[in-house]
Assembly symmetry: C2
Homo-oligomer: 233 residues x 2
Amino acid sequence: MTATDDESDSVRIPLNRDRVLGAAVSIADSDGIDAVTMRRVGQELGVEAMSLYNHVANKDDLLDGMVETIVDEVIEMVATQDPPETPDDWKRAARDRILSAREVMLAHPWAPAVIETRTDMTPELVRYFDGLLGILLAGGMTFDLGHHAMHALGSRALGFSQRLFVPDDAHESSGSEVREMEIEFPNLAGMLTAVSHDGGEPVLGWCDDQTEFTFGLDLILDGLDLLRAAATR
Amino acid sequence: MTATDDESDSVRIPLNRDRVLGAAVSIADSDGIDAVTMRRVGQELGVEAMSLYNHVANKDDLLDGMVETIVDEVIEMVATQDPPETPDDWKRAARDRILSAREVMLAHPWAPAVIETRTDMTPELVRYFDGLLGILLAGGMTFDLGHHAMHALGSRALGFSQRLFVPDDAHESSGSEVREMEIEFPNLAGMLTAVSHDGGEPVLGWCDDQTEFTFGLDLILDGLDLLRAAATR
DNA sequence: ACCTGAACACCGTTCAAGT
DNA sequence: ACCTGAACACCGTTCAAGT
């Protein structure tokens, strides 16, 4: 073995799976998931697209790996958090975990959609859910209630929920459009004018995502806590 | 105008937007959303792919139209249902509406994923949400609570929720794998053995989707009802 | 063992040409 | 006004060939 064979001395860093996944994640972060093509990932690494196939099986495997990377980030972030100290502390612990996951998802806006398309659970995903379920069980939930709880949380467990009211930024609502909306959609029109007093403009898309996320999360956690208390009492 | 110019007498049905959307929906229903390509839709209609551009602006517009079609189906189904008779009846009415939407989504399994990718609200989607919000308001919710409620329901309002525990049908869990899982994922392993007594096998994917959906839905509706009652009391 | 170049079978979409 | 054929710029992926 010569000095030039030593990896640490070599100038060109050898390609490996992690570097491929890292490049893909960074492209998705900056340019969106559609920009993640095999050719583009290769280009980012100074290599032809075909070389990637030595480190990932195919595009699907690349996407699996990207999810893996993001969930690892969540797991690492969550590892430092306090476990529930008493059974009654379960809600706080679950809430902290889920809000941390949400922070990671906000940093990788493409991740939720990709996670949803994955047909297989990655081991990292299973590990995260196992930890969250552990908190529910520590709160005194039965296996059965814990199971229902995981389903009820759904994707909220990972810090995201699909928002159907998407902001329509380009849409400036003129006076006549508002009038028109009042006739066709009276309830939404009323809601928009009633709730938009606090600094926002009367358009769809004015909602505070963080507020709405925690409202929905607490609604579910509070409901689960009632069921838990009823069963353990 | 001659007899052959008359549309009703003509043997070849003229192409139009609705026929294009109908063909696309039927392809997606039978072969999945990935099978919906411009060439395939054209083929189904006995026409070249390029002809479709006379009736839809592009692929994105085609997908918008497909969503339009499915949401119309929901709206039609929901039109026959009883509105809430008393304020206290709001929960029943909302529940019925959402479970009807769910039936439509189950008939078009590709629809939820496509709906989530749409950036703009279609008018049909707005109409559906306006109707649902109307039920909440009829129950005596404030605009503010109604607004939170719509967000808390999220995609459940349209009858679907993203299931993160996807069934892994191909995965037969051998004895050694179960043993391995018990070490790495003790909580999930415990849950699976505890809850799977009722006829199912101890694998991910044994869950009754309908049961879990209604559990989560009722959890949210019950929580909202408490908030509503507290505010109107 | 890893990387490359050329090629293949697909996409969505354009454009000039037909009727 | 509507449809077509050929073409273009992209995809993911294969395969034989290089080192």
